[in-house]
């Protein structure tokens, strides 16, 4: 399997920590159903670029540095409007100036789309050794009084080094988009359409959670409805595209949104428990990083081995979704 490295911020927010802030919060019920015990969160001065650099530094070394000819970076929390974070990473990592570099903005489907871009660049012969990096810091955008989202999201970065020999191991993709869902996972203020509002009003939602239009807002019920409607056909389409059936796949790694949602999707699709990844207890939902984190953990723990077929499935903000089957 291609090399993957992970970086998790040092600061950890446990359910017990949250309970101290919110004495009425029934954390045992949440832990049991949602499956998250803790999440890593960035400090005030720590950014997606910092996390990305620390993840990438682990797999970029003297031997491979000069051969890396492309950096693809996925985040929705860029350090600057411009320049792109990938350009800054090229310099910080000491990569050659003849390397291409670009950012793209996607959330939970980001790793799948990143792999699609990687495969395109390899197939076209534009690149031979790529660094695909995802880094996310959603916790910077969550209101302190929004316990529903604070309990779910964590911060992280993942870097994957992929070369032309991996090209044949990346199978067919199935991608999809439905922008009608844009309002269901959004930060409304701070971009060019709506300026950051110093006097933004707090809005209550979901029985005791608060956000302002400067903060991340997630309509959990509609996101769940979207996944129920779109993920089962996505799996079928990707199996068909790769001429495979569920029994041919050794392991399924879905975006680790929350355990409750994942378990229901697993049952609805008919995937055996032993072939289905649930890996978010220690890190929470890290957006575009959940799939590479789970993939690396599954490989390191021997759950998946060389030549196994693994389906990777991402879905979320946009709405955006994608699946690909890879050979380990």
């Amino acid at each position: 399997m291609f090399d993957i490295s992970i970086y998790l911020p040092e600061k950890i927010l446990t359910n017990e920590n949250l309970k101290l802030e919110l004495p009425d919060w029934d954390y045992l019920k949440i832990q049991d159903k949602i499956g998250i015990r803790q999440r890593h969160i960035v400090g005030a001065s720590e950014t997606a670029l910092d996390l990305a650099y620390l993840a990438a530094e682990k797999i970029v070394n003297k031997k491979n540095r000069e051969y890396i000819d492309f950096i693809i970076f996925c985040t929705q929390s860029p350090d600057y409007f411009l320049p792109t974070t990938a350009c800054i990473l090229q310099d910080k990592l000491g990569l050659p100036t003849n390397a291409g570099a670009l950012d793209f903005n996607l959330g939970c489907s980001g790793f799948i789309y990143g792999l699609a871009l990687v495969k395109g660049l390899l197939t076209a012969g534009i690149s031979e050794n790529l660094l695909l990096i995802t880094a996310e810091t959603y916790t910077k955008h969550i209101n302190r009084k929004d316990v529903a989202n604070r309990a779910i999201f964590g911060d992280a970065a993942a870097a994957a080094l992929i070369n032309k020999h991996d090209q044949s191991k990346i199978g067919e993709f199935t991608l999809g988009t439905d922008g009608r869902g844009k309002d269901n996972l959004i930060i409304q203020n701070g971009g060019t359409r709506n300026a950051y509002d110093l006097y933004a009003q707090e809005i209550e939602y979901g029985n005791g959670n608060y956000y302002t239009k400067n903060d991340l807002y997630m309509n959990g019920p509609e996101i769940f409805n979207f996944t129920i409607e779109n993920v089962p056909p996505l799996i079928k389409k990707n199996l068909d595209a790769n001429k495979l059936s569920i029994s041919d796949i050794d392991y399924f790694i879905f975006h680790q949104a929350n355990q409750f949602m994942l378990e229901y999707l697993r049952r609805k699709i008919g995937i055996p428990t032993e072939k289905f990844c649930i890996d978010l207890a220690e890190t929470g939902n890290t957006v575009s990083c959940t799939i590479p984190i789970a993939l690396k953990n599954a490989y390191d723990r021997g759950v998946i081995k060389s030549r196994n077929k693994v389906m990777l499935v991402g879905f979320g903000v946009g709405y955006s979704w994608g699946a690909v089957t890879i050979e380990i």
Binding site: K29, I30, K33, I34, A148, G206, N207, G208, N209, N219, G220, P221, E222, F224, N225, I228, E229, N258, F260, M261, Y264, K268
Partner: protein, 71 residues
């Protein structure tokens, strides 16, 4: 599923302790939203939107919803 069985099921799902009838006020937090969406999709085959969930107040409302959708 009878009305009584339905109420017992809702009590189980939403961890309601003690007696509950159709007038019982339910607390629908973010987790209860997910639980109810799954329950209605799996057992009754229809979608609960966030708008519908916001209007639900009692167990009776949950039952009424099924009557409206399935009859």
């Amino acid at each position: 599923m009878t009305e009584k069985e339905f109420i017992e099921r809702i009590k189980d799902l939403l961890l309601i302790e003690g007696d509950a009838d159709i007038d019982y006020f339910i607390k629908i937090d973010s987790l209860a939203n997910l639980i109810l969406i799954q329950f209605y999709d799996e057992y009754f085959g229809f979608k609960l939107t966030s708008e519908t969930l916001n209007e639900l107040k009692t167990i009776g409302d949950l039952i009424q919803l099924i009557k409206e959708k399935l009859h």
